[in-house]
């Protein structure tokens, strides 16, 4: 093994129930290099980071070599002791503690004695901040600091822990341009001290500016490692996309009149000037990176999180939607992203879940809820959507992921919507079930419904969207026709600011 190698991973697999997040991955980081880890949403980057941090254990057969020594199990504590420090997007700091304590807390944990020395703690903090060359009051409480300064505190903590590899997860996502420059200067300083940086980001310009080597992963698999001089935007994007999963394209039969129109919708800090229209029979795919503002836009349309300005027109008339209840009244159904937390009451029966949105309609002659009507409705939907097993009394958590998703869809279809919004409809379910959901969405569209589908899975977006909106940092960056778009053109638009070559409809 190379003497310059700090960490080497081989045969890393990680299986979650139903999903293989990492598949036989290999990976190597040398001392003092800034290494970029790139991949699409859901490619397995976070899982890999969690394994390195000791927060997740890989499947058996994995081999982790740190400085040539094999580590059988990494726990959060041993991982830190080996010098692997992860700076998560939320920094993992303590808002209620002082800067000094935030920096030295891991150090104090490593000490044998259970006693705290405040003097030592302050010295450690001071030294770490001096090394970084930044000036922050070590006695200040952390939550009085700006985000950029909090990040510096997190980096100082890594230094105080004697970090040899610092993993930064999307470190620039909350920084301004000037702050990014400062961060890069600091990263270069760390590199000179022989500290390796694993830089995880979607912003290609930044990756090319700071990294010397790139590792690409896709679908949990290792695609390759390439030095900076062999790499360019074009190549990187083609390596990231091209996932193996292919779905049969299901195109629209007949697209009717406009049903929903969104005009200049804006919300500070989330999205800006979003305009588009949706037609009957059309499936509108909205894609882009996580955090691009996709979910925020549809939640604004549904009145869950109101927009600051802009209009929503339904059938040409301006609709005022202040809450989900209003949205249901004007004919919008919304299937949220995490069906488990937002869409389903897992401990309740299939019947309860399906009928929860329409209880008012199920009143009997006496004005009370008619249990007979309720059961009939539930059975009806179970049959229509082919939910298996078809027992209305079964608790929702006993069903498979695909069938749970059907329950959520049924629940919203029961409200008889004209517009159905689905957010990551096939997240976490197997390929077969995904196809079935696609067919279901297409059938609904063919019956005259307008459907908005948010998805990060490009093959899925390409398979059933008639029009594709690509969002980037809160704006619609490109619009594509579903027939002619390619994974690469979409990825370009999602990542690069100057994509713009979409077909405007």
């Amino acid at each position: 093994m190379d003497k310059d190698t700090f960490i080497k991973l081989e045969n890393i697999s990680k299986t979650f129930p139903g999903v293989k997040a990492l598949d036989n991955l290999q990976f190597e980081v040398k001392r003092g290099e800034v290494h970029a880890l790139v991949g699409e949403n859901g490619a397995g980057k976070s899982t890999l980071i969690k394994i390195l941090a000791g927060n997740l254990q890989p499947d058996t057969g994995a081999k982790i070599l740190i400085e040539g020594e094999e580590c059988h199990t990494l726990t959060p504590l041993t991982s830190i002791q080996k010098g692997i420090i992860v700076i998560y997007q939320d920094f993992s700091l303590f808002p209620n503690l002082t800067v000094a304590e935030n920096i030295s807390i891991s150090n104090q944990l490593g000490c044998k004695s259970g006693q705290i020395s405040w003097k030592q703690m302050k010295e450690t903090a001071k030294r770490a901040l001096d090394t970084l060359g930044v000036d922050i009051d070590i006695n200040a409480t952390l939550d009085t600091l700006s985000t950029a300064k909090q990040q510096l505190v997190a980096i100082a903590r890594a230094l105080a822990c004697d970090a040899k590899l610092i993993i930064m997860d999307e470190p620039t996502s909350t920084l301004s341009k000037g702050e990014v420059e400062t961060l890069f200067k600091i990263i270069r300083g760390l590199k000179e001290r022989g500290i390796s940086i694993l830089f995880v980001s979607h912003k290609l310009e930044e990756l090319f500016e700071i990294s010397s080597i790139f590792t690409v992963i896709r679908d949990g698999q290792y695609i390759g490692t390439y030095p900076l001089k062999e790499m360019n935007n074009d190549k990187l994007i083609s390596l990231m996309v091209g996932r193996k999963v292919e779905f049969v394209r299901q195109a629209a039969r007949n697209i009717g009149e406009t049903i929903l129109e969104v005009k200049d919708l804006s919300k500070a800090g989330c999205f800006k000037d979003v305009s588009f229209s949706l037609h009957r029979g059309e499936i509108l795919g909205i894609t882009g990176l996580v955090g691009a503002g996709r979910t925020e836009v549809v939640q604004a349309i549904c009145g869950i999180d109101k927009a600051d300005s802009g209009d929503v027109l339904i059938d040409g008339k301006r609709a005022i939607i202040h809450s989900m209840t209003d949205a249901v009244k004007v004919g919008i159904g919304y299937v949220p992203e995490s069906r488990l937390t937002e869409g389903l009451i897992l401990s309740k029966s299939v019947e309860e879940n399906i009928t929860i949105t329409i209880l008012k309609k199920l009143k009997g002659k006496n004005g009370l809820l008619s249990l007979k009507n309720k059961k009939r409705q539930a059975k009806d939907w179970i049959e229509k959507l082919n939910i298996k097993p078809g027992y209305p009394d079964m608790t929702a958590q006993k069903l498979s992921g695909g069938n749970q998703q059907r329950i959520v869809v049924a629940k919203w279809l029961a409200t008889n919507p004209e517009i159905l919004i689905v957010d990551e409809p096939t997240n976490g379910i197997d390929v077969g079930a995904k196809s079935e959901i696609h067919t279901l969405l297409r059938e609904l569209a063919d019956k005259g419904m307008g459907i908005i589908m948010i998805s990060s899975e490009l093959p899925e977006v390409l398979a059933i969207s008639d029009t594709i909106l690509v969002m980037r940092r809160g704006k619609i960056n490109a619009v594509f026709d579903g027939e002619t778009a390619t994974q690469k053109s979409i990825m370009n638009a999602a990542i690069l600011s100057d994509a713009g070559s979409g077909i405007v409809c």
Binding site: V86, P95, L97, I105, L109, I116, A268, G474
Partner: protein, 332 residues
């Protein structure tokens, strides 16, 4: 000097002073040495338990079973003293052991079974108080041995003027409060566990990520609450010289009210011993003052409850505003 005035506790000090002035102007006997000693003696148990509750609440949890633990412990040591010995040292050892065991039970439920603290402790409280009533049928224990009663009457620092030319000392019970304060202060400030308690309250996930054993700390925290309840129980018997199984009904409300008044954040992460003691003082002054001003106990309850809800609202709204300020992200 500026630092002192900037501290959160300063507001409490000013509030307490203001209240005392008002009460004194209405009833001059408020500031007499005897009344002050009475206030101290009457609230020393509250202060001891509040310090423990502060620790629990800093983790973001709560323990509503304190009244049950204290009452159960008084019963155990009451029976022990009547049937075995009135030796105060043995009584304290037994009392502390009993309290700690009951507290650890809460800790295990909260940490390992992950029952929300309020539900877990509400459950154990119900079990404890039901058990106690079943065993005692509500009867008092009155024949506490003289040895223990004499211990409870001891005073120290017998040099303070009593206002009539004589001297009085501080009741021995205050020494136990001092002990609680010193131990808790040391744990919270100078031990890894203590800083871990703050860390968990600030951000549990981060605490886990950097390698704190969150479960172990939680078990310790509830165990320590039990330890303090045990200490408080024996001290209580030394003041009252009897065991009344119903003496602590509703006591958890008083404790929580005092701690919240003392500026401990109900969401966890923030709190100080000084603040907590000031909270107890404020609570005691309000209570004593309202009594001296002859406000009915019904109104006292209403006023205290309102103060509590108001101060929680204040903290929660403040937090929400702060988090909104942080949530801004720039858009290209």
């Amino acid at each position: 000097m500026k630092r002192i005035f900037k501290k959160k506790e300063m507001g409490l000090v000013i509030l307490a002073l203001l209240l005392m002035t008002v009460i004194t102007s209405v009833n001059g006997s408020f500031l007499s040495p005897m009344n002050i000693i009475n206030i101290l003696k009457g609230n020393v148990i509250l202060a001891i338990v509040s310090v423990g509750m502060m620790v629990v609440m800093i983790t973001g949890g709560i323990d509503v079973s304190v009244a049950g633990i204290i009452a159960a412990t008084t019963l155990v040591i009451g029976n022990f003293m009547v049937s075995v010995t009135g030796n105060p040292i043995l009584a304290y050892i037994l009392g502390i052991m009993t309290g700690t065991v009951l507290g650890l039970l809460n800790g295990l439920l909260v940490a390992f079974i992950q029952i929300p603290p309020i539900v877990a402790t509400l459950g154990t409280y119900s079990v404890m108080s039901g058990m106690m009533l079943y065993l005692t049928k509500g009867a008092y224990i009155n024949n506490i041995p003289q040895e223990f009663i004499d211990f409870g009457k001891t005073t120290f620092l017998n040099i303070l003027p009593d206002g009539d030319g004589g001297v009085i000392g501080l009741p021995i019970q205050l020494a136990f409060l001092a002990l609680t304060i010193v131990i808790t202060w040391y744990i919270m400030k100078y031990t890894r566990t203590g800083r871990g308690i703050f860390a968990i309250g600030g951000n549990t996930i981060s605490a886990q990520r950097i390698g704190y054993n969150v479960n172990r700390i939680l078990v310790f925290v509830y165990g320590y609450m039990g330890f303090i309840c045990g200490l408080a129980a024996v001290t209580h018997v030394s003041i009252m010289r009897q065991v009344d199984p119903n003496a602590f009904n509703g006591y958890e409300m008083k404790v929580i009210a005092a701690v919240i008044l003392g500026g401990v954040n109900v969401m966890g992460g923030e709190g100080s011993i000084l603040g907590t003691l000031l909270g107890v003082l404020l609570f005691a002054v309000i209570n004593n003052g309202l009594t001296l001003m002859q406000v009915s106990t019904y109104w006292q309850k209403i006023i205290l409850g309102a103060i509590m809800v108001f101060s929680i609202c204040f903290v929660v709204i403040q937090k929400r505003r702060a988090s909104k300020k942080h949530a801004k992200v720039d858009i290209a």
